[in-house]
């Protein structure tokens, strides 16, 4: 077991290293525009540019620049080339909005999809199932920014039930925080509910045929008890795996579309704005952050699985 964990963690660090290296090369060296020129501003003299190039180490070989950038990121000393703010501080500022979005939407999408998926599986083949199937298909076919625009226009602008976007701190006004988060939560959840409920439905339908389910029925459990204690408990494993990874992505700024359309000023929107200006350091930090979250959670999930299922330990 220890050997498995060690190997898995080494693999994880390897992937993270390659990700950071590739991201660095992609954003630091390819785009046109010398970062020194960008930092110096429009009216800089050749001397000033040369000074900045030396000061920031842009004249150094690429591997030195990479090491320097990584050191800066880990010590929180990385600055936007474009606007001069500290990127790590800016990420911290965006974190409350992104966390509010992720946690609220996560609860909604997890529970709704469990209910919808179970209902569809229990009613498999009936009209309820068909309706839910089409509804979840509609859910996965909606781009979040289009759904968000519809909600903002009709419920916000026309009916005035909800604000048109923006984020209010939970600590400053809990009710306003809630009102501002309702539409983003809904928008982000719709996509995942559609997907998760489909996955859960087919896993439940697989599990129902297992021997231990027949045993549970044979020993006299009611249909309801069998479903809750035996079928559902086993069918939830893939859903929890998916949830872990998707949740990690949303925290790392993956809900970029939902955050932008509702103007939440979270980590995702920070990245979206930075992309518009080609603000390399900001993109680099957010992309790295997200990728690290995902890779770390994938490793945790694998290790948890190995605990639950000894066969996996040998296979890897």
């Amino acid at each position: 077991m220890t050997r498995f964990i060690v190997r898995r963690l080494i693999a994880m660090i390897g992937v993270m290293f390659v990700i950071s290296l590739l991201t660095f090369l992609l954003f630091e060296s390819i785009p046109n525009g010398d970062p020194a020129r960008r930092l110096a501003g429009r009216l800089a003299t050749a001397n000033e540019i040369a000074f900045i190039r030396k000061e920031y180490g842009f004249d150094q070989p690429i591997y030195v620049q990479y090491a320097r950038m990584m050191k800066n990121i880990f010590t929180g000393q990385v600055y936007s080339y474009y606007q001069g703010f500290n990127v790590v501080d800016e990420v911290k500022l965006g974190l409350p909005a992104t966390l509010s979005l992720a946690i609220g939407a996560g609860i909604i999408w997890l529970f709704t999809s469990i209910v919808v998926g179970t209902l569809a599986a229990v009613k498999a083949g009936k009209n309820t199932d068909r309706l839910l199937t089409v509804l979840s298909m509609v859910g996965v076919s909606f781009p979040p920014f289009f759904l968000g625009a519809i909600l903002i226009y009709y419920l916000g602008y026309k009916l005035n039930w909800f604000p048109l976007g923006g984020y209010v701190k939970l600590t400053s006004d809990p009710w306003q925080w809630f009102v501002h988060m309702v539409l983003p939560w809904f928008t982000l959840s719709v996509l995942f509910i559609g997907f998760y409920s489909r996955v859960l439905r087919s896993t439940i339908l697989d599990t129902i045929n297992e021997d231990y389910v027949r045993t549970a029925r044979a020993k006299g459990l009611s249909e309801n008890q069998t479903l809750r204690r035996h079928v559902l408990r086993n069918s939830l494993i893939p859903i929890i795996t998916l949830f872990g990874l998707d949740f990690a992505q949303v925290i790392g700024g993956g809900a970029i579309l939902t955050e932008s359309i509702f103007n939440l000023h979270g980590i995702g929107q920070l990245a979206a704005d930075a992309i518009g200006r080609l603000d390399i350091t900001v993109i680099l930090v957010v992309v790295l952050l997200t990728a690290f979250f995902v890779v770390a959670l994938a490793a945790v999930v694998d290790i948890l699985y190995a605990f639950l299922d000894p066969r996996i330990r040998i296979a890897v």
């Binding site: 068909r130 920014f145 697989d206 795996t241 518009g276 957010v286």
Partner: protein
């Protein structure tokens, strides 16, 4: 952005009309493809939405005809002051608000803020969106099949390298990676990929989805290569390449077919998302993504500019998804291949 691929017995079919029920007679002597076709033919929902998609495709291909013979206006013709030949008195009001749907041949769906005909742009934009979707799907499938088969068949170091590379792409959220690549390529450019070329978003989207297809294919090849018929082929002295092309790949056909609509739907969605974030289709070209984001930029005026392309996009993706779902049931009821986000 998580893909799952697991096998197991599907208890009942997705739309119950698909597939054979308990009492159905399975005719003897029908090949798997004929059986799949029979199952698909019975799934009326899937066929209906397949038809909807083909209708949309044909309409979009007929865009020049509509533009020339019905609306009498080109997709790029701006008409702010209303001096056009077939334009109502003013297409865009003094305050900059475009007219809504007229439901007549010219400006059927109204105008956008530059006084361009939304209906004409919708069809031309659809051509671009669908073209990007198809090209991206082609790129994804091509590389995913090659990488998946190679790493699954040869295993060892090659597998390790390919798998890690796929892990790296897979670790980024699809939208974030797509936006980053798209923005970079649009500015700097490599070879023929630069500026406003439609190939930039197509290639970016194609790359982003490779791991979602390559990983399940690799998993399947890992199982296939242990089967007896592969052993037999090896005993006959067939080369590895020959085995991969003539023995392994035909057995992947149904998986590959199932993935095509899935990737196509997601590619079209991702195009719109990238364009909304400014890293997809660049302005002079119309696409559903550019139309939606143009409309969103001028909210709350002229909501039809968001609604018309948005509904078209959702309808297209929905019909591909439902048809793809039916196709999956018909070809391989036990495979669960899906992609989200």
């Amino acid at each position: 952005m998580t893909a799952t691929a697991s096998t197991g017995t599907e208890f009942s079919d997705e739309f119950a009309s698909a597939g054979f029920g308990e009492g159905d007679q399975v005719p003897a002597g029908l090949g798997p493809w004929r059986l799949a076709w029979r199952r698909l033919r019975r799934n009326k929902t899937a066929l209906f939405f397949g038809g909807v998609f083909i209708l949309i495709l044909v309409l979009c291909l007929l865009a020049p005809v509509y533009s020339h013979s019905v609306a009498h206006i080109s997709p790029a013709a701006e008409n702010i002051a209303g001096q056009g030949n077939n334009c109502p008195p003013t297409c865009v009001s003094v305050t900059g608000i475009p007219i809504g749907p007229t439901w007549t041949s010219s400006y059927f769906f109204g105008a956008d803020r530059n006084g361009r005909d939304v209906a004409v742009r919708l069809l031309y934009g659809g051509r671009n969106s669908l073209e990007i979707g198809f090209v991206a799907t082609l790129i994804t499938m091509f590389f995913a099949i090659i990488l998946g088969v190679l790493s699954g068949y040869f295993r060892g170091i090659l597998d390790g390298v390919i798998n890690r590379a796929l892990d790296v792409i897979w670790a980024f959220p699809a939208v974030l990676l797509g936006v980053a690549l798209g923005a970079t390529l649009a500015v700097s450019g490599i070879l023929f990929l630069h500026g406003t070329s439609l190939l930039v978003p197509a290639v970016v989207i194609g790359i982003v989805y490779i791991p979602y297809v390559a990983k399940p294919i690799r998993g399947q090849v890992l199982v296939l290569r242990e089967r007896e018929f592969i052993d037999a082929a090896r005993q006959q002295g067939l080369s590895s390449w020959r085995i991969m092309f003539t023995e392994v790949m035909p057995n992947l056909a149904s998986t590959i077919i199932v993935f095509v609509p899935l990737i196509l739907a997601n590619a079209i969605l991702l195009e719109a998302a990238l364009t909304y974030l400014g890293a997809g289709v660049q302005p002079p070209n119309p696409s559903w993504g550019t139309m939606i984001s143009d409309g969103i930029a001028q909210l709350p005026a002229a909501f039809h500019d968001v609604l018309v392309p948005g509904i078209m996009l959702v309808l297209t993706v929905l019909s591909i998804n439902i048809f793809g779902d039916g196709l999956r049931d018909a070809l391989d009821p036990r495979a669960k291949v899906r992609i989200a986000r």
